[in-house]
Symmetry: C2
Subunit: 191 residues, 2 copies
């Protein structure tokens, strides 16, 4: 399973087998059941998660008491609450498995040490954060520029496998509308 991580790293940096084994030793491989909480609001987020297999989501509880999903992470994606993780402050988010998931887990201190001992990982994480930031900038643009309907159509067109894989009520939670509205919308598209 760790081969997934090695192949992923090799897209960005050059490392040999020995280096990879040492890098891997900074992580724990953990398996989580479906709908398991990795982080709850109010806790300090002490880990960064890399998805080997499965699906995670990040959400917060709105004032109205609904779950607003802000991010998903599938295979080879990272997930943490960066602010809580870096500043060791209580998180405003939940991180939860959507499917049974196998993850590489690293603590903030271990990640710092990894970066110190393997400066090549600075390059790797620079590229990862650069892309995550770019994707997040686009997300903000989409939120402002699309109607709810167009937002869904856009997702359906660009990420059909993803829409198929994720339960519909979570797609609704990500797009910021009710499951009922999404259900109506899907009927309208089919007809």
């Amino acid at each position: 399973m760790s081969q997934i991580f090695k192949s992923h790293l090799e897209k960005f940096i050059t490392i040999n087998d020995e280096e990879f084994e040492k890098i891997l030793s900074f992580f724990e491989v953990k398996t989580f059941a479906k709908k398991e909480d990795l982080l709850k609001e109010g806790q300090v987020c002490r880990h960064n998660y890399f998805v080997l297999k499965g699906l995670l989501r990040k959400f917060f509880i709105t004032e109205k008491g609904t779950e607003q999903t802000t991010e998903f992470a599938i295979e080879t994606w990272w997930m943490t609450d960066n602010i809580s993780y870096e500043h060791k402050t209580p998180s405003e988010f939940y991180i939860q498995t959507v499917e049974k998931s196998e993850l590489l887990v690293i603590s903030c201190d271990a990640q710092e040490q990894l970066l110190e001992e393997f400066p090549v990982m600075e390059k790797y994480f620079r590229i990862i954060y650069q892309r995550a930031f770019a994707a997040s900038q686009n997300r903000v643009k989409y939120i402002f520029s699309f109607s709810k309907e167009d937002f869904y159509l856009q997702l359906l067109q660009k990420q059909p496998a993803f829409v198929q894989r994720v339960p519909q009520y979570l797609i609704a939670s990500f797009l910021g509308f009710t499951p009922e509205y999404l259900s109506e919308l899907r009927k309208k598209i089919v007809s």
Copy 2:
């Protein structure tokens, strides 16, 4: 003026004077007038900008023809359209000076070369992108969790100097409401 950049870098990495001069040689110092376009929609974004003095904003034109501001950059902040910059694709954004601005300007190729010759800059940019991503994640949360009114109050409370400095119609453009609505809101807050 370049001392601002050196002091900023030294918050994150250790470099000596000679290294700094070499790093600086990858950049051009340029001055731009107020309301000058650094990037227009449809152009490939070929530069990354570091603000030595002044204020930039990034925006896009909505379907309704209004300017939706998505980001500001003040002194020691970076700004580019990361997707266009990295993938050399036409941008969907504008980048414009809000005030007369003095900027450090670097091209994508020069930045790649800088990272190759000075791996310590990988660490610097890793931290910069990591923080930018974290801020962007919070932005998404704010968009979903606050009413327009609360969004403004939040900004006023957390960034009073910023609200003072930026023209009100741009604050409105950032928060996604009309200048008229903001004007009403300000009267309501004062009374």
